[in-house]
């Protein structure tokens, strides 16, 4: 009898736990789902409170069309965002793979000093040096260009991604390298042929962080991109939401937020373990 009671109480505890888990999951997912569903309402309906969240007067993509009529449209800022994010990924991967390899496998003057200096930039808020960054970009002719923004974003990624890549290279046993060197591989072929296949999980992690960082960044893009044709999605959507293009169309805001969220969510769901891995590596150290 005692056994039966303990089993039923364990069952009840299990149900209570899963009920809690489900309620919490709904609370966390609701705002996202609510927005994605509401964005598919016809324009008229999207102006009303989203109760219920799904379209009741027919499914429509009208809001995306409306969004496209504001300012320079939806496609141009989306293109800017894609360009900036992809370039940030490409260059932060190249720069930090090279630097990670250099810091891991070579001894050279000022090595430790340089490594510490690069890592310690993470302690300094970039928010406090935006004005000079603006002036530096003007000086080198990258003022108000997406390339300039990419340079800034890549620099902001470097402490984390160089740290990640150095650890990834450190984890590769020296014997593999020595064997390849016997076979006559030089430094560059060694890096590309021998090392890259071994450190690719680290590369996926830093690429993911670089993409999310660049895609979501707001303040630097707001300050540095003054020309409307250079706006990234967050800047363009904030301009729209502040009523800069006339009356605020909340249907268009829902559509825009959906466009901003979906790439992050898909990438995260596909590459979840790389993301968590990056967080853990940061947390453990």
């Amino acid at each position: 009898m005692a056994q039966a009671r303990s089993r039923s109480s364990r069952l009840r505890l299990g149900i209570a736990e899963h009920a809690t888990g489900m309620i919490a999951s709904v609370l966390f997912l609701a705002p996202i789902v609510w927005t994605v569903l509401s964005a598919f309402k016809p324009s008229q309906e999207a102006r009303l409170p989203p109760l219920p969240p799904w379209p009741t007067t027919g499914f429509s993509v009208e809001n995306y069309g409306t969004l496209n009529t504001f300012g320079d449209g939806l496609w141009l800022p989306a293109q800017n965002s894609i360009y900036v994010s992809v370039m940030t990924v490409v260059f932060s991967v190249i720069v930090s793979v090279l630097a990670g390899y250099g810091f891991s496998r070579f001894r050279f003057p000022f090595k430790d000093l340089l490594f510490v200096v690069i890592l310690s930039t993470i302690m300094i808020p970039f928010q406090s040096i935006l004005t000079p960054i603006f002036l530096v970009l003007t000086k080198i002719g990258l003022h108000n260009t997406l390339t300039g923004l990419v340079c800034v974003y890549v620099t902001l990624q470097l402490p984390f991604s160089i740290f990640m890549m150095r650890n990834a290279f450190d984890a590769v046993p020296r014997e593999i390298e020595e064997a390849a060197r016997m076979d006559g591989a030089n430094n560059v072929t060694m890096l590309i042929r021998v090392m890259l296949p071994l450190v690719w999980p680290g590369i996926v992690t830093i690429a993911l962080f670089a993409f999310l960082g660049a895609w979501n960044e707001f303040l630097a893009a707001l300050v540095l991109m003054t020309d409307q044709s250079k706006f990234t999605l967050p800047i363009m959507m904030t301009a729209l939401q502040s009523g800069r293009f006339g009356a605020i169309d909340w249907g268009a805001v829902q559509a825009g937020v959906t466009v901003m969220m979906v790439p992050c969510l898909i990438l995260f769901l596909l590459l979840q373990r790389f993301y968590i891995r990056g967080l853990m590596a940061g947390a453990v150290k």
């Binding site: 997912l29 090279l98 300094i124 470097l158 450190d170 430094n187 967050p234 947390a283």
Partner: protein, 308 residues
């Protein structure tokens, strides 16, 4: 993770062929990174310090004025108000985040069915940006087209639709709710890594000795999580002190400029009023605060004595 912790290869003497040349090659590999950090971080950092000693308008000549900007800051009550508000916000939001994230971390740490699903759903808001989250909530919080006010009105909780963003208290707590929603999953994962690093034998031994769940939490979980807790705390505090996006997008610093944060005030001085020198001096204050925090962080995160 294991690959990263098991890294430091035992240093053993070996002969390097052409060691001299190889050394300098290393510098070439790190050169692009060093160049970027120098041009877009070190130089701007130096310039901030330099500019803070100048009267520096956007157009026209700048002139050296010594410490005058810093004296002006002492009398800038609106900056101190912004700083005080930032401190209050940091305190409240950090407590709120931990109050939500810690139970969640304990919940997902124990393996059971659907743990993966729970973990992923709690974490989802953390991967969308602060700007997206703010835009999303600015809609949900809107008095006419949003969710909360109309829903409360329809349910008969309020007599008319209440504009949550019109007065300080509801606006402030709305932001807190939004940030907790957005950040709790992130803090949860950090705390989870700490929980997982506690050997389960310790908990079992304590259980056999008759320690209750609360005693176990206090005597084992908390002390062994010291470094993780410190890290999560510092990330939350540093992030909150630098808060800008949500206050700019949802509240525009309002109602009545009561929710201007430190970064918001620097932004206004530098890029709305174009007082670049004064903005730089304000930035130096912010920077000093963050560096002090980082120093505390290094002290809190130090490895326990005798343990490598």
């Amino acid at each position: 993770m294991t690959t990263i912790t098991a890294t430091s290869a035992p240093a053993r003497p070996r002969k390097l062929v052409g060691a001299g040349r190889r050394q300098w090659v290393g510098l070439l590999y790190v050169a692009p990174a060093v160049a970027l950090v120098t041009v877009f971080f070190i130089i701007p950092l130096g310039m901030t310090a330099w500019m803070s000693l100048h009267n520096w308008p956007l157009m026209g000549e700048h002139s050296f004025i010594g410490l005058a900007n810093y004296w002006a800051i002492l009398r800038d009550t609106r900056f101190w108000n912004a700083l005080r508000f930032t401190g209050w916000y940091t305190l409240v939001v950090t407590i709120a985040i931990f109050a939500v994230a810690f139970p969640l971390a304990l919940f997902i740490e124990r393996p059971r069915r659907l743990t993966g699903f729970y973990r992923t759903s709690f974490f989802m808001p953390a991967v969308i940006g602060f700007a997206s989250a703010s835009l999303l909530w600015s809609w949900l919080l809107n008095v006419d087209s949003g969710l909360f006010s109309p829903a409360a009105f329809d349910l008969g909780l309020t007599e008319k639709k209440v504009n949550l963003l019109a007065t300080f208290q509801p606006a402030f707590w709305s932001i807190i709710a939004m940030v907790v929603w957005k950040v709790a999953g992130f803090t949860m994962i950090i705390l989870m890594t700490g929980l997982q690093s506690i050997p389960s034998e310790l908990q079992e031994a304590a259980m056999i000795d008759g320690a209750g769940p609360f005693a176990r939490f206090r005597a084992i979980t908390l002390p062994l999580m010291r470094r993780t807790l410190a890290l999560a705390l510092i990330l939350s505090v540093a992030g909150s002190i630098l808060a800008f996006d949500q206050f700019y997008i949802i509240l525009r610093g309002g109602p009545r400029n009561q929710t201007l944060t430190a970064v918001y005030w620097i932004f206004n001085q530098s890029f709305v009023s174009f007082k670049l020198g004064y903005g730089a001096a304000l930035s130096m204050i912010l920077l000093a605060i963050l560096v002090a925090l980082s120093t505390i962080q290094l002290w809190l995160l130090r490895k326990p004595e005798g343990v490598d």
